[in-house]
Symmetry: C2
Subunit: 464 residues, 2 copies
């Protein structure tokens, strides 16, 4: 009977909604954060524990390579000429493999835009028919050393940046960012979209190509390091990265462009688009993470990518195998006139930035992003702090001022994710679910559990 006479002191473990009644009636209570593990296969956790020394050594090796990467922008070229395995009838897309019938609206819209841009279709109807005909092949950007934001469409004639990892010699490729509004990567395919792509090919590309050749190389790694000190996490916020790139490229553009009018227009285009740097931060991340691939027994993720239907993960220790599950719909700030009901599930290769310790993992450097979805500066710190729980290391270069210049949490360890139930935190743009509309918002989300559970189980089963 003593229990009911004395003051009640409650410890609530896990689901916070159970606290509400206690809070409402003024009963003292303490919340213990707890999430169940992602996998129910206890034997696999035991097996991973048994192999832990070997896994840790493998992860250290993968991390050393990822952190030592020296990604620099060294040139530009046309996709068909420079991307390994690129073909005229091949279209690269974001995320894990997906064929036309299962593709989401914005990816279909992006492909239709690309087919019209390539001159293979004269209008949307023709483009849709061709896209579904079987004459066009589809493969993930990630399987061609490339990355693309949102729909992530790369077709044969598109110009791409060439990023070289100068430490390990591998390359990564990404298109030029189109800006906001009606753009291919969000699934729009109206004439203005195609026209802009042509201008980007005929004017923007040759101008930037010459300027980059004039400079020889642009050190992207130090640029990202500085951008993190300037309020960017280089995924949803790229104002500083774009500014620093602009400062580096402008004098070279003037020195090499065919006429001052062209130089001014090219710089105005970049100045008008604070996301211009995104594609470069993605290529930098891709070039860094590819160096950490194929380390036997490493449980570190080297890819997180979404095709708008599924969310896919690849691990260093499991080669080219994709682990997938349904892509969730982000919490977002929606543009006027749109709601979550309009939103396509999460899409794009841009989660390569989080995989590389940037984006949502570095959100403590960019509290402005949390604020626009209703959060506080302290939430931004907490999101980043939580990511240290599931990462194998910390960046030696990318550092967060508000955390006393601690390195960003880097190298997602799928065992830690599976054990803790803490899922990677991702910043993202939001596309309308229908082809032809475009962007409807920007927000944040946690990665879905299924790909990580599958990746962990496959990884642990195959340890021997």
């Amino acid at each position: 009977m003593k229990l009911f006479e004395s003051e009640l002191k409650v410890i609530n473990i896990g689901l916070e909604s159970f606290r509400q009644g206690l809070n409402d009636t003024g009963v003292k209570n303490v919340q213990v954060q707890f999430k169940p593990p992602l996998s129910q296969e206890a034997a696999l956790f035991a097996k991973a524990a048994k192999f832990s020394a070997r896994i840790e050594k493998a992860n250290a090796k993968a991390m050393e390579k990822i952190l030592a990467a020296k990604p620099a922008l060294v040139g530009m070229g046309i996709a068909l000429d420079v991307i390994p395995g690129m073909k005229k009838n091949l279209i690269l897309h974001a995320g894990p493999p997906v064929k036309w019938p299962r593709m989401c609206g914005p990816m279909r819209g992006g492909i239709m835009a690309a087919l019209m841009y390539e001159g293979l279709a004269k209008d949307p109807l023709e483009a849709e028919a061709l896209a579904a005909s079987g004459k066009i092949k589809y493969e993930p950007c990630h399987e061609h050393n490339a990355v693309g934001p949102m729909a992530g469409i790369i077709s044969a004639s598109m110009p791409v940046f060439i990023v070289k990892n100068e430490e390990h010699g591998n390359y990564a490729y990404a298109t030029q960012n189109e800006g906001l509004g009606k753009v291919l990567r969000y699934g729009a395919y109206s004439p203005e979209v195609i026209e802009r792509l042509r201008w980007m090919e005929k004017v923007l590309y040759p101008t930037l190509k010459d300027a980059i050749e004039f400079l020889g190389r642009i050190d992207l790694k130090s640029m990202v390091a500085q951008a993190l000190h300037m309020g960017d996490e280089v995924h949803n916020r790229n104002r500083a990265g774009t500014s620093l790139f602009y400062r580096a490229i402008a004098p070279a553009v003037i020195n090499t462009s065919r006429d001052p009018g062209t130089a001014a227009k090219v710089l105005e285009f970049i100045n008008g688009n604070d996301h211009f740097f995104l594609n470069l931060s993605m290529a930098l991340s891709k070039a860094s993470l590819d160096a950490g691939r194929d380390v036997k027994d490493s449980s570190v993720a080297v890819v997180m990518a979404r095709n708008g239907t599924e969310f896919g993960v690849q691990l260093s220790g499991t080669g080219g195998k994709w682990f997938t599950g349904p892509a969730p719909v982000p919490d977002a700030l929606y543009f006027p006139g749109y709601t979550k009901a309009d939103a396509n599930p999460d899409i794009g290769d841009s989660a390569i930035t989080e995989t590389n310790g940037l984006g949502g993992f570095a959100i403590a450097a960019a509290p402005a992003i949390v604020q626009f979805v209703g959060g506080k500066a302290a939430d931004a710190l907490n999101y980043t702090l939580a990511m240290y729980e599931i990462t194998a290391g910390e960046s030696n270069i990318y550092k967060i001022p508000a955390l006393d210049f601690r390195g960003t949490p880097t190298g997602i360890d799928v065992i830690k994710v599976a054990k803790s139930g803490i899922l990677p935190f991702i910043d993202t743009g939001v596309a309308h679910k229908n082809a032809g509309v475009g962007q409807v918002g920007a927000g944040v989300l946690s990665a879905p559990p299924e790909p990580f559970a599958k990746a962990f189980e496959y990884f642990a089963k195959n340890l021997k």
Copy 2:
């Protein structure tokens, strides 16, 4: 006797050094921050309290004007042509009035550089003799609607930015920033210093002047607001401000410059100097604060400025009167080979940024600055939070991400300073104490008490 039997619990008020013995012997204690008021004249505090309603109304009026200011860069010109009261034999300097015999080394060095630049002396010896001859007149920049960093020297032929407060119609002027190393504003006068000044007059100035005319105006207020979201406090850190200015001006420079080579050199000069924006943030602050001048009964500071010998303050309610005291030597990160013994006392008009709620008052936006003098990110937050104790308002435009976008503490109320003993926190560069050397470090400091005590006493005595 009971006191000595029970556990000792100590409250320590004021000087923290008294706690050391308690801490060393493990005695529980609590520290209460307390500083004695700056003025011992209790009757004056009582008088200020009696007039408090009227003072508050006056301060609200001054704050409304300061916060409503709309400073924009609208043009450039030669000092003699555009600065009110400028003359050929007049040299403007930083801080409160000071004549040659009492001037510090770096101010003397800057004046010698200016006399050689003007062609009035052919070498340092001749310049020094002329400077001391009585033929050259000296007046504060602040008395000519102008501001200058460090020595703050403006001579007749120097080009200046013209910043207009578009809300109230007043103007402010500042020179172009020379960059780091051996530069006039830190008291250097070697041939490379004079040569750079000539290039700035013959190439940089006409190029920027044409570009600004082409654009019509550049909105400095929104640029500073953005820079605070990008790790700047626009006093000791201007990387973001410089980047944003560069992005705005570059296409105009290309469109208007006489040839691409000149355009490229001008942009490379700005790109090579992350402090280029400082002089603009100072002129923006001056244009804003001058709008708040001469409000009867207002105890809000409209100037804090140092000439390297004395630190001076002006209040809205006390007209052009200067309140001064000895300038302190900053805590700083010294460049290799230099120590605090080499440092000149605090110098420059750049504390106009703090007076305007920026710089040290906004240091929570720029933790990198605190780190280089050995502090933590939390210290940066605390410095800014302390400034809310002594300010009359908060900015409606300049906001700090890490404080959930709270407006910066703005408008130093000298009564609050005198009562609390909390002194304005200032970021600063450090000049060598001898003429001809240049910068030896960068750091932070609290303003000295004397000018604020004097300002408060004069203000309170004259209330009627």
